[in-house]
Structures are given as C-alpha cells and as structure tokens.
Symmetry: C2
C-alpha cells in the first residue's frame, strides 16, 4: 500500500466527462489498496474567464481581490471531483487551500507556500477517504486568500506530497511523459522512463512545457518522487523525475534535444571593451521589462568587442528600438544588428558532465548538414546553439539520431 | 453618520456594468459620511449554472460538496465589487462567509446562521473601509462550507445588520419597494412608504416575492430596520419594513391586495364527520410531497361534511389522482371534485385587527361586480378568497379602489 498524490491539470478536469474519467482512475488506485490525495486545477478556460471578468472592472485588478475571484476556479473543481468519486461509491472529501491551511506569504497572485497542516488529510485518509485538495491557492497568516501564480497547482501537489511524505507525486497532464524531443518533429522521439531534476529544469526552461519549473525545484528540495503521466491514456508509466542520478548516467549521456523558435537575437558590434558596458547595454532593456535569455560576449580584439543576446520574438522590435535610440550612441557602439528568424537548439544531459566530446560531436553533426552556428552557450548539463530558423527541424532530427536517442532502453 | 448594511441581489450585480453601478451607489453613501457593509449574491444565473454542472456529475449532488461548488458564486462577486470600489478610489475589503466566521449549523444547502464574528468588520469600518461580504454562505464548527438555501443572501444581510446593530439594512432588488398591489395589474398601485413585518409576511407568502420570508422573520426577531429599494433607480426611499406598528394603523386599515393564480382547489364531498378524517385526506397528499395552502372544513350537516384545500396548479393532477384512487373509497367520501382555474385574492393589513367590517366590505365589493366567492379563509391581518380565475384582475382592481389604496399618503 502506497500513499500517492495525484495532480490533475485544467484539461484533465475540463468537462464533466473528464472529471468522471479522473474519478475512475482514482478508483483504480484505491482498488489496489493505495491511499490517494487528489490535487486539481480549475477547469480549462475558467481562470482566464475569471481574469477577463476582473479586468472589465479594473484594468489592473487589485491583487488581493483578484485572488478571491480566481481561487473559485479550483474550488468548483474539488466539489465536482468529490461528487464524481462519491458517485462511484468511494468516500471522498474536498478541501480548499484555506481549509487545510496551506499557509503562504502574503504576495497575492504569486504567493509562496510556507507550511501545510496535514492533520485533517491524514485523518481522512485513515478513514478511507480520497482527499481532494484545491491546487493553486492558500491563505496567509491573516486568513486572506492567496494564489500561487500560473501552474501553481503543480506546486501544491508537490508541497502536499512533501508534507505527507507521499511515496509518489503523479502529475497528470495531456502528454504521457517527457520525451527525448518533440514527437511532432521527430517521429522517432522516445518517452524517457526517468530524467533527473537538473535535466528536467533545463528541458522545461528550454520549452518542453510539461511541468512548472518551480514545482520541479520544490520537488528536488524536498526529495519528492515526481512522475509525469497522461490523464488521457489508460496505461503507461509516464516519466519518473528523480533526484538521484544513480547509475543511469553511465549509459545515457544525453537525455534530450530541446528547441525554441520564439527568440530573436540582437548583436551590438564594436562595443568599447571596458567595465560596466554589459550593464549599460542590458539595463535599459531590462528596465523596459524585456526578458533576456542567452547572453554572449566574446574576448575583445583591438579594444572593442561584440555583445549578443536573445529576447522573445514578440519584444524584438521594442528591444531594437531601445538599443538604437538610447544605447548605441551613448556607449559608442559601431552597429546594432538583429535577426528574428533564428532558433535555439540544445542538447541536455547530466551525462555530459563526465564525457568530453559532446560539444564537438554536436558541432560536427550540424556542420555535416551545412548548418551554420551563430551563437553558442553552455552550462554544466546543456549545450545550446542559435541557428537559422529554417534549419531547426533538420538540426533536431540529426542531433536526435547522432546521440542515439531513438534507441531503446535509455 | 449611520452604519448601513446594503444587500444586492443577483440582477443588481449581474454584469460588470451593474457592479460598477453598485460601487457608485456605495460611494454616494460614503460621501455622506456613512459606514457601509455590502452583502452580495452571485451574479444572476451563476448559481443555476453551478448547480447544472454539479448535476451532470451527480443527479443528486452530495450536499457538502454542492455547497463547496455553489458558494463560489458569491465569492466571485465580492472580489469584483471590491475591485469596483477600489477603482473609484474607496478603501474596500472582501470577506467570504468563512473569513468572518458566519457560523452555521451543518445542514448543508439549508444551513441556519448561529453567530457572526463581527470584530474584523468593525475594525475595517473604523479604518474607513467598505466591507464586502459574500451572502448565502457560512461555515460550520468544523470549518466545512455551508450555504443558507435560496435567497439566503437576504438572511446574511439581516444577520450582519443585527450583529453590527446597524441603523438600517437595505435590500436592493429589481423593484423599488412594496406596492399596494402589482402595478402591472393596477396602474394606480402605490408604493408603500412603510409596512409592518406581519403584513410583509402575509404579502410575501401571498406571492409578492420581494423578500425572502426567512430574512423578514429574522429581521423581526432582532429588530433590524429593513428597507426594500431598487438598484436600478438613482432616487427613491423604497419601502421601510417596521416592527413597530406606531400610529400608522389609525390611518391605513389595509396595506395591500395580494393575489395568486398558481393554485388549484380540490373538494372532497360527503366526508363522514369524525375524528382523524382531515389526516386521512391530507396524509397521502403530504406523503407525496405536495404542498397544501388553504384548508377549509365547514361545519357538518347530516353527519357528513365537505373538505376543501388548495395545492399548486402543477400538482393538481397528481393530487386528484391520489384522492380518487387512494383516499375516496377508503374514507367513504361521496365525491372528489377539483378546479384548476381559480385564483386567490387577499386583503392584508394590521389595521383590520381593530376594525370591524373589513370582511363585509370585501365581500360586498366583489358581489357588486357579480364575482362569486368559492372559498374564504382568514387570519388576524388577512382575508383571502378563492374566486374564478377569470375575475382575478377585476377583483384586485375593485378591491384596490374600495379600500382607497390609490389615495396618497398611506
């Protein structure tokens, strides 16, 4: 008998039929003798509907009151899921974040969980209940309703699993696990049986939007066994996210190929190579609330250097304007050039830490296909390159093959 | 400076525009130096939408979980109303039933309020806040969410007014007060400046659905000054519902003419006049969950009597079937006759207690128009007659005139 926390996202509870399917899955786990805590999101579309309603009243809704409004989405779902469980003859009981005192700080709309009072949950589980908890929400010390920000239900699931020392936290979503790369791009892409937290973080931030990054960090911190599964399929073990690297890295050097074509690159050429120049370039960009991803500065030649970075494609024009109008003359740069038709492709794997030659293999593979590399950036377990957008699919496919990701038993 | 509780019903907060209108009205009261607590219902249609959703999961939704689901309707409204107030530059703060601990019993979907912790409200009011409270909901001792049943927001408003010893509880709805009769029927109908609680109870139960009866009883018990007003009109004092009869009854003997054409009458003729016969007739009707309104039994002639009562028109066929198939033979009655084409017309007024001749004036007025009276039933402050449905409008009009209800200064 295990204690399992199951978290279901918005599409998994998006209709009465989907909610009934969730109840049937829970019933199956109960039939195997497991104790189950269910954490749910709002039905898909509901949170956006409530935010739109709020914005008709206040273009910038008051954060405390916005949390009062949007936390109702999950509250509706817990009632409906409990009803579906009761209808199947199971014992079930729902709790809002406030009712089990998921205590958070008072940062409305982006609160952080401080503690959970798991006594009621434990008592209900001991009495044979399935406990259904509203994700995404909590209360602060004064009893004000708070929410955890987008994707916060994942964090609730992990936090409850940590508080209960659950055997596993299962995250049900509309994909059945983490893949070596996007199967829509590479039909040979394979579901990973396991992936490490660090790899998951790199994969997620690179665009494999399976799990909210914060919940992965949280799971790592509290050593919660996380598993990503599909709520749309009856069978399948999903992907287990582990915090132990065990002996897996001996076999698989690379876990996956991530990619992103939402970025644009900007290069400031002929920048005087002196202290403070990076801040002078990126400060105004950051002040305009433009997020910057990759940043590259090479060693200088003849006292000047080239400074490159990437931004989201939607903010390319804005960033270019700032650099040309506010920055270029001020710092005495020769030129500001940009290109929005780029893609970022990354190989990710904890195994590369102990293996040389990953980078050269990646670069050689791309060179053999005539794909020019425009930018390179590396971390401990990731190598990212920026290439011409039109070669992205090709690059992902050849790298997937070159690193044997289409082979069984990763 | 007064402390005023304002309760707004579903149509009064039915859209962002209506919510903004509520905020402007509150702002006007604040500008006059008053302290204001706002109690709100769910946006019109929302509670039904949530119930329908629940019924797709469970045809008979679990009461505890149903309350979790439907209480979200009011929670959304308090957030939105607070935002609208903040947008006007006022200070505002919302509370769910649980947050100010509107303590109820555990009768889910029809809970009764036991107490209210008004400390937070008082502190917020003292700080200049408008306090916005979710109507219709509370929590039981264990922290479970409860709801008060349909129209329960009126009760919340009155209960908070009682707890705060507010100067007045204003009930905003889509009519601008209580009328001498329905203005759609009698254009000369006039809005009453005041009405007593007892009259209001008789008027409400007779079909003038302005206020939930329970909230009127509650207001009477705690001596809360209730005022019915329209949220759709800028001006107007509405109708004040008083628990003192003061000297008003010296002037107005009759306050209004109520009517109802949703009923049908059933007569059991030739019933043996012996103990227990009323129960033998109405027991099976009641067992079938059919509500009975007027009940009349006249003195007997030759050892048998006629027994009449009225039921809702929708249940007429069902009740007739029960009486003909189960009751008639069993009790040895001669005949079961029924008529669904009837109407009930009532004159209501505390003044009639000290005035003779009201009944005879009523009967003479109807007789002069050739309207036959089929049944009569009286209480301390009400006389009701059952007549042929086709004469209902005529009867209401002539009675309205006969009792001078179209005159100024009631």
């Amino acid at each position: 008998m295990a204690l399992i926390v199951q978290k279901y996202g918005g599409t998994s509870v998006g209709s009465p039929e989907r909610i009934q399917a969730v109840a049937r899955r829970v019933a199956k786990y109960k039939a195997h003798g497991h104790q189950v805590v269910v954490v749910v999101s709002a039905m898909s579309g509901e949170t956006n509907r409530l935010i739109d309603l709020a914005k008709k009243i206040q273009s910038q809704p008051d954060p405390r009151e916005l949390d009062v409004v949007i936390s109702t989405g999950e509250q509706v779902t817990i009632g409906l899921v409990s009803m579906a469980l009761l209808e199947l003859g199971l014992k079930a009981k729902s709790y809002t974040g406030g009712q089990i005192r998921i205590l958070t700080d008072s940062a409305f709309t982006k609160a952080r969980i401080l503690s959970i009072d798991e006594q009621n949950i434990r008592a209900d589980l001991a009495n044979g209940n399935v406990v259904v908890v509203a994700g995404f929400q909590g209360v602060d010390e004064k009893g004000n309703i708070t929410t955890l920000g987008r994707g916060g239900s994942d964090t609730t699931g992990v936090a409850i699993a940590a508080a209960l020392r659950a055997d596993e936290c299962q995250i049900y979503t509309d994909v059945d696990g983490v893949y070596t790369t996007d199967p829509r791009l590479v039909p040979e892409a394979r579901r990973l049986k396991t992936i490490t937290f660090e790899e998951m973080l790199e994969m997620a931030s690179l665009g494999s939007k399976v799990l909210q990054i914060r919940s992965v960090e949280f799971a790592g911190k509290y050593k919660v066994k996380l598993r990503v599964l599909s709520s749309f399929e009856e069978e399948g073990d999903g992907t287990l996210i582990t915090f132990e690297e065990d002996d897996k890295m001996e076999q698989a050097i690379i876990s996956g190929i991530a990619f992103n074509r939402d970025e644009a690159k900007i290069t400031v050429r002929g920048v005087p190579d002196k202290p403070g120049i990076a801040y002078q370039i990126l400060g105004p960009v950051s002040d305009a609330n433009i997020d910057v991803d990759m940043i590259i500065q090479n060693v200088s030649l003849d006292g000047t250097t080239d400074f490159s970075f990437t931004v989201h494609r939607n903010e390319f024009d804005k960033a270019m304007g700032i650099l040309k109008n506010q920055v270029q003359k001020h710092i005495g740069a020769r030129e500001v050039a940009g290109d929005s038709r780029i893609a970022k492709v990354s190989v990710v794997g904890v195994g590369m830490r102990s293996h040389v030659g990953i980078a050269s293999k990646m670069f050689r593979t791309l060179a053999e296909e005539g794909i020019n590399i425009q930018m390179i950036s590396t971390s401990e377990i990731k190598i990212s390159v920026v290439i011409d957008e039109k070669y992205m699919e090709l690059a992902v496919r050849v790298l997937h093959k070159a690193f044997d990701l289409d082979q069984e038993d990763l």
